[in-house]
């Protein structure tokens, strides 16, 4: 074992024992499974305290510079922390838009002043960040964003609205894509990118109630909201380019994220284990031949995705459709997750009809809520149907 490996192993043990000692107790209410599900002050306070604790221990943003709140060490240390957090199933580090998208962006192309001003608050969870890309009439069609940003002296005046703003009502800052020049020849050239404060007059958020009955997103309205001109990132007209770069972080295609768990992974073992004590027709549900057949199909589906990840690293085995596995990943995981969670409700028998808030709901209604929330992934970031079009056109070469 060389010194570096030994050092990492030692570090892993250190992290593991810190997590064991500091992992929060069950708070007695359901925690969000993803950062898009923070729907109450109670959940917010809990997660804020947890992220702050992880950061204070030196286990978040480890690869970010020391003067910006990080540890200035190699990213491998952060990935060891993330693996251990995944293994010990600790709560998420919820400030994901800051940690994973805005933070790396600022680190990458921001000025020193921007780094000084924003990065530490992202890590410590003092400053919650949200994203203002999608608009009510344009969904994921960002090129057509209409929200206006008009220069007036040393300010920009913002008018318009954004939708699906995760934690919009808790956020201090927003990464905002707005139209600074409606006359631009190409619509993309009329867009600019802002690190905008949410605390100025003229910004209003209205929480969106989800199909689960919970909250997590807002619609955000700007009415003559004045933000300082130095909130502009890059130059006017660079908005599209910077937004596309942000999406690269969001999709995990570019490194630089601070780390921490963005979501609680729900895997097939969680399902199998929760079914061990469920009965059907007087016998264990896991003895029912039809349920077994479906369960094996789900196991195979999850295993196939994992094996696909392995295979995509072997060029000889992907030569006919090299982009197939990478472009299908989102579609496959999210559709699988949706089906698997639905099956979990199905397999619970009569109890499957209960929901969060009922004291007899299995695991507090975990699976019911997880199933309904799974649609945020099959719809958000490009619906499954749009994903299938992309694969059909870019992998199979079918016409538009």
């Amino acid at each position: 074992m060389n010194a570096a490996v030994k050092d990492l192993e030692e570090f892993r043990r250190e992290v593991a024992s810190w997590l064991e000692a500091n992992k929060p107790d069950d708070p007695g209410f359901l925690l969000p499974q993803t950062f898009m599900e923070v729907g109450s002050e109670q959940q917010l306070d809990f997660l804020r305290e947890w992220q702050h604790k992880v950061w204070s221990a030196g286990y978040l943003g480890m690869a970010w510079a020391k003067e910006h709140g990080g540890q200035g060490v190699d990213a491998i240390y952060q990935s060891v922390v993330d693996q251990e957090m995944r293994r010990q199933a600790v709560p998420i580090c919820f400030n994901v838009i800051g940690l994973g998208w805005a933070g790396p962006l600022i680190n990458d192309i921001g000025t020193e002043e921007e780094k000084q001003r924003y990065l530490k608050g992202i890590l410590s969870a003092e400053d919650i960040w949200c994203q203002g890309f999608s608009e009510p009439d344009h969904g994921s069609d960002l090129g057509n964003a209409r929200t206006r940003a008009e220069r007036d002296g040393d300010e920009y005046v913002i008018n318009g609205s954004k939708i699906w703003t995760t934690m919009g009502n808790y956020a201090k800052y927003m990464i905002l894509l707005a139209r600074s020049n409606p006359e631009a020849e190409r619509k993309y050239d009329g867009l600019s990118f802002f690190l905008a404060p949410m605390t100025v007059a003229g910004v209003e958020t209205r929480p969106i109630r989800k199909l689960t009955g919970e909250y997590g997103f807002t619609e955000t309205f700007f009415t003559d909201a004045r933000i300082p001109a130095d909130c502009l990132m890059g130059s006017e007209g660079e908005g599209w380019k910077i937004a596309m770069k942000t999406l690269q972080y969001e999709r995990g295609a570019e490194a630089g994220a601070a780390g921490g768990l963005a979501f609680v992974r729900i895997v097939i073992d969680d399902l199998v284990n929760q079914l061990r004590d469920v009965k059907r027709d007087g016998r264990p549900v896991l003895d029912d031949p039809l349920m077994r057949d479906q369960l094996v199909s789900l196991i195979m589906e999850e295993k196939a995705i994992t094996l696909g990840d392995r295979r995509s690293g072997i060029p000889a085995l992907t030569s006919d459709y090299p982009m197939s596995l990478p472009l299908s990943n989102k579609l496959r995981w999210t559709e699988y997750a949706r089906r698997m969670r639905q099956f979990a409700i199905n397999a619970q028998g009569a109890d499957g009809a209960l929901f969060v808030g009922d004291d007899r709901a299995r695991e507090g209604g975990f699976w019911q809520r997880a199933y309904l929330n799974s649609f945020s992934a099959t719809i958000g970031g490009g619906t499954s149907q749009v994903q299938a079009n992309i694969i059909a056109e870019h992998v199979l070469g079918l016409p538009k």
Binding site: V267, D269, L307, R311, I314, Q385, I391, A392, P399
Partner: protein, 372 residues
């Protein structure tokens, strides 16, 4: 322990070269046109192609060097079987490779001469089925005089095999009687009409046939189990290749056929199921190469069993769906003999029955994965 279990995937430089070579060889000697030339002849392949395969040492891929083989291990047959499927190329290669595995694992010493013959190019097959039940008990037996009596069904490649490994019962236990096919009369080999015209199988009638040798003992049972799993794997690899070819044929049509003034491939109703075929084929390929990286000369363990069964369950579903949609998406053309979609939909029905269909394997997987 996670039910996901082992997720190893290994594919080295040597295997990559074999895959490249097999793919171009099969595409060149096989392909849809070549397959069509043999649809209605007694054999589904041209003897020249078989001789070339033999010359390349393919019949000995899974055999150790001391028996004249290549010593690559049976996992190396996966890229070859996939390439054959992609080109719908027949030949008794898969049957021969599997027969060699059965004999090698049952009793390599007693079978050494036959195994050397196989490595040198003798085709071989296994006669197992006596009914539609994959796990049927054998009524074929070697009698007191040492003569083989009985009947076997749908023996794959029986028409072209030199050696036939017959699963029999001997003193109430399973045994393998190896028969020299040249000693059988013509009336003993009864070709069946298969739904898949790119393969051949026959029933075999044994009346007072003297086996070349008889393998018995406990190793026969485990060899038979390994043979069935490896059979599932190689047919899965072949099916995966066929599903990929079927997808190519369908996509080509969707890109060129116009209806209502538009290329039909622009309709989402045709696009999305095509993506589904791609996804199912991708999964099948992942399982097949995963299983290929796990199987070795040693007896197959639980990880290998899970991998082979998943490979077959997935590849069977992928090819069935690909063939079914290929016919439908070709519209009226798809209903004709001349449309290549028929080759795939018919191949799919045959392949699913070899070494157990998807339900068969999922049922056994359930026991392996869910029962502690």
């Amino acid at each position: 322990m996670s039910v996901i279990g082992n997720t190893a995937m290994r594919f080295d430089e040597e295997q990559s070269m074999l895959l490249d070579y097999a793919r171009s060889f099969c595409a060149d000697r096989g392909g849809l046109h070549a397959a069509r030339e043999h649809l209605e002849s007694p054999l589904e392949y041209s003897p020249d192609v078989w001789q070339e395969m033999v010359a390349m040492g393919w019949t000995g891929i899974g055999l150790p060097e001391e028996l004249g083989g290549a010593g690559l291990g049976i996992g190396a047959a996966v890229p070859v079987a996939e390439s054959m499927g992609k080109a719908l190329l027949g030949t008794p290669l898969i049957s021969t490779l599997l027969t060699a595995q059965l004999l090698l694992r049952a009793d390599a010493e007693s079978a050494a001469e036959v195994l050397r013959g196989i490595a040198a190019g003798d085709a071989a097959c296994v006669a197992e089925l006596e009914s539609e039940d994959w796990n049927g008990v054998s009524a074929c037996a070697v009698d007191g005089a040492g003569l083989l009596q009985g009947r076997k069904q749908m023996v794959m490649d029986a028409q072209s095999a030199r050696w036939i490994a017959v699963l029999v019962s001997s003193d109430g236990a399973p045994a393998i009687a190896v028969v020299d096919a040249t000693a059988l009369g013509e009336e003993a080999i009864l070709p069946r009409v298969l739904i898949d015209n790119t393969h051949r199988a026959a029933d075999l009638v044994f009346a007072d046939v003297k086996p070349v040798f008889l393998l018995s003992g406990p190793a026969v049972l485990s060899a038979l189990r390994d043979y069935r799993l490896l059979g599932a794997l190689l047919v899965a690899a072949e099916s995966t290749g066929a599903a990929a070819a079927c997808l190519d044929v369908t996509v080509d049509y969707l890109k060129t056929r116009k209806q209502f003034g538009k290329l039909i491939g622009s309709y989402q109703a045709l696009k999305h199921p095509s993506v589904e075929i791609l996804t199912m084929m991708d999964s099948a390929r992942s399982f097949v190469y995963h299983a290929g990286s796990l199987v070795t000369e040693a007896g197959l363990g639980k990880d290998q069993e899970v991998a082979c069964r998943m490979a077959k369950a997935q590849a069977t579903e992928a090819l069935k769906f690909a063939g079914d949609r290929a016919v439908q998406f070709h519209g009226g053309m798809g209903f004709t003999w001349d449309c290549d979609a028929q080759l795939f939909i018919r191949r799919a029905q045959w392949s699913q029955q070899q070494f157990g269909d998807a339900q068969h394997h999922r049922q056994r997987l359930a026991a392996l994965l869910l029962d502690n």
